[in-house]
């Protein structure tokens, strides 16, 4: 079916605004060409698309990035106190001088540009491949756009247990930066890696991370998207999980004009586990959208989706979460919860939880709630002398705790909690 003219025009205008990256190896050019034709056949998202019903994609699709003032903050980088290898991108461009040497035991790290110019490279089997698998049954055109146009990012091959986490740090320094990053991560059998991400990245940020988790491998992901008020971001995390592998991703978001985090996980090997969680605090002109799609295509796999949002002063939150259980994916254990705490009547939360099950021996549950702060609890705290704002913060932290507890590593969890406390103390100002 031909695209409507308006969509076709918007798509071409967007494609024309970004140069195609420098020519790479044949396999990379093939992947980019294929992605480009995917974008053209799907068309970029439009506000009337069902999948974008609650989040207007215009600012993510328009040819140039809407200007976003750089947020000046005295905050340190989230993961500074963690012993880690850090890789810095400034407005979407790798900054070698600010980064550590790309060398880590058990891990091979390259820049995307180097990997895609290598004629024979393992990334051929992942780059754009997991993204493509994630295009069905729901189109994710902004991810295909990323595959077609990304010129930077990292390509990580994990052969054993990484000796420390890799921290991708994204600085935002230009009011009009329009960044596209594409990371590819492959974990060999039994390998183990933690990836940390933080920073606002750019005025507009389009990021794709493809993660191929082989049998028995473990991937942990913890990220914070900071208080840069005007930035916009669309991120896609595509993961394919082998037998007995583990994938855990947690995101903490505070402010930003628009954030759409999509996470698409495919459980393809038996006994695998995928946990995706997020906590977000939004104040004012803010929209945060978590869109999650987990496909069970193997036996005895477990998945969890735990998303909590605290919203005030007109902030909006969106959750679209799906568990798809394919025929034969017996003994699936799927859990999904999305909850919002609205601190005033101006804020809004839209949730679309979905289950689609084609196997008969599964346990899947989902729930979604929206509510105001518990007045009885608030009064109880105040009656003990706790001022209203501190009492509200305490109850807010308590509300978010279930999502934060999804972070397995205690020291990382503590970092996230103290970051959250800091943000709440500043009243997100």
């Amino acid at each position: 079916m031909a695209l409507p003219q308006v969509k076709q025009d918007a798509t071409e205008a967007r494609l024309a605004a970004t140069d195609r990256p420098a020519k790479g190896a044949a396999w990379a050019e093939t992947a980019r060409d294929a992605a480009l034709s995917r974008v053209r056949s799907m068309g970029l998202p439009h506000r009337r698309d069902e999948y974008w019903k609650f989040t207007t994609p215009d600012s993510l699709v328009q040819p140039d990035a809407p200007a976003a003032a750089v947020h000046v903050s005295d905050e340190t980088n989230t993961f500074d106190e963690v012993e880690r290898l850090h890789i810095v991108f400034v407005d979407g461009v790798f900054d070698a001088s600010a980064s550590d040497e790309l060398a880590l035991e058990g891990v091979n790290i390259e820049r995307l540009a180097d990997a895609v110019s290598t004629d024979i490279h393992w990334a051929k089997d992942v780059y754009g491949v997991l993204e493509l698998r994630g295009q069905d049954p729901v189109a994710r055109p902004l991810a295909a756009l990323n595959t077609a146009l990304a010129s930077d990012g990292v390509v990580i091959h994990v052969t054993g247990k990484a000796s420390k986490p890799i921290n991708l740090v994204y600085h935002h320094t230009s009011d009009t930066s329009d960044a596209i990053l594409h990371h590819v991560i492959k974990l060999d059998q039994g390998a183990d890696l933690t990836v940390l991400e933080n920073g606002p990245a750019a005025a507009r940020f389009n990021k794709v991370m493809e993660v191929d988790v082989a049998d028995g491998a473990t991937f942990h992901h913890v990220r914070t998207q900071g208080r840069d008020h005007e930035r916009r971001a669309v991120t896609h995390l595509f993961a394919r999980l082998g037998e007995e592998s583990t994938f855990k991703s947690f995101t903490l978001t505070a402010n930003g004009a628009l954030t759409r985090n999509e996470c698409v996980v495919e459980l393809t090997g038996d006994n695998a586990a995928a946990h995706v969680a997020g906590a977000c605090v939004g104040d004012g002109d803010f929209l945060h959208d978590d869109t999650v799609f987990i496909t069970h295509d193997a036996v005895n796999c477990e998945s969890r989706q735990v998303f909590k949002k605290v919203l005030r002063n007109g902030a909006r939150g969106v959750f679209q979460g799906k568990i798809l259980v394919k025929p034969g994916a017996q003994k699936t254990d799927g859990y999904q919860i999305s909850q919002s705490l609205l601190l005033d009547g101006d804020s809004e939360f839209d949730a679309k939880p979905e289950l689609e099950i084609y196997a008969d021996d599964v346990a899947c549950s989902h729930g979604s709630t929206t509510g105001a702060i518990d007045e009885d609890g608030l009064f109880y705290l105040r009656a003990r002398g706790v001022p209203e704002d501190i009492a509200t913060n305490l109850m807010t932290l308590a509300f978010l705790a279930e999502a934060v507890e999804e972070i397995e590593d205690e020291s990382l969890r503590n970092i996230i909690v103290s970051r959250l406390e800091g943000w709440l103390d500043r009243r997100l100002g």
Binding site: F379, Y380, V386, E388
Partner: protein, 251 residues
């Protein structure tokens, strides 16, 4: 210490008057009890004094050591030294009991211009007080009142009272939901806090709590007013004859 004059209170949500001219003075160092049938306005009085939303004071005043408390926020009243032990202590999932109490103690210290208590001093103090109430350290770690039995919740109230050292304590139906042993434990906790300079207002439906916490003065409340005031013998009279006779007598 606590002086309530001609207090009239309506429910905000519906056109209903609950308190119709309460007159009550509690002196420092004294224990006053308020007894009365269901719906007489006892709990409303405690909530209004603590500053809960949903009530409108239409007439009268309430002062603590001469300071008008009715216009204050609940946390300001607490900092002035008012403490309400809740009839139904609220469960707050996710907030640790210890975090809660430390926040409360330090907020009150801050309001009084004092330095925050160090973590070590706080821990030492709360462990000592908890031990007196036979509360194990697990109860301090758990979320506030979550999964606590009725008796544990009430002990937790008394622990908070002991930690905050208020000058005016209001106990709202502290005996409800307690077996005899638990009631004795709670009463011992309260009695340990009895001292010169601290007033108590014990709201109860039954006389049995007053066997353990001996009042100096007993008030009978009915239909939004104090209808009779006397000594401890008044509580025994209620126990024997019920409220009906008294109410009739006054009417």
């Amino acid at each position: 210490m606590l002086e309530i004059k001609n207090l009239h209170v309506d429910l905000e949500e519906e056109e209903k008057t609950i308190l119709k001219g309460v007159e009550l003075t509690v002196d420092a160092g004294k224990v006053h009890a308020i007894m009365g049938p269901n719906g007489s306005g006892k709990s409303t009085l405690s909530y209004v004094l603590a500053g809960r939303d949903g009530y409108e004071v239409t007439q009268g005043s309430a002062t603590l050591d001469g300071v008008d408390i009715l216009d204050m926020e609940p946390e300001e009243r607490a900092a002035e030294g008012l403490f309400l032990a809740f009839q139904y202590p609220v469960e707050i999932p996710g907030v640790g009991n210890m975090t809660f109490m430390r926040t409360a103690v330090n907020a009150q210290r801050k309001a009084k211009g004092l330095d925050e208590m160090s973590a070590t001093d706080f821990l030492k103090l709360i462990r000592e007080k908890a031990k007196e109430l036979k509360m194990d350290s697990d109860m301090l770690k758990r979320p506030v009142n979550v999964g606590f039995s009725g008796g544990e919740k009430k002990r937790n109230e008394i622990l908070q009272m002991a930690m905050l050292e208020p000058k005016m304590c209001i106990l709202d139906e502290t005996d409800s939901g307690l077996d005899v042993d638990a009631m004795k434990l709670v009463a011992d906790g309260v009695n340990a806090l009895r001292q010169e300079g601290r007033g108590f207002l014990v709201i109860t439906h039954y006389q049995r709590l007053l066997d353990h916490i001996k009042p100096d003065v007993v008030h009978i409340m009915s239909n939004g007013r104090i209808i009779k005031t006397g000594g401890p013998e008044l509580a025994l009279e209620v126990e024997k004859n019920g409220y009906a006779d008294l109410i009739e007598e006054v009417a």
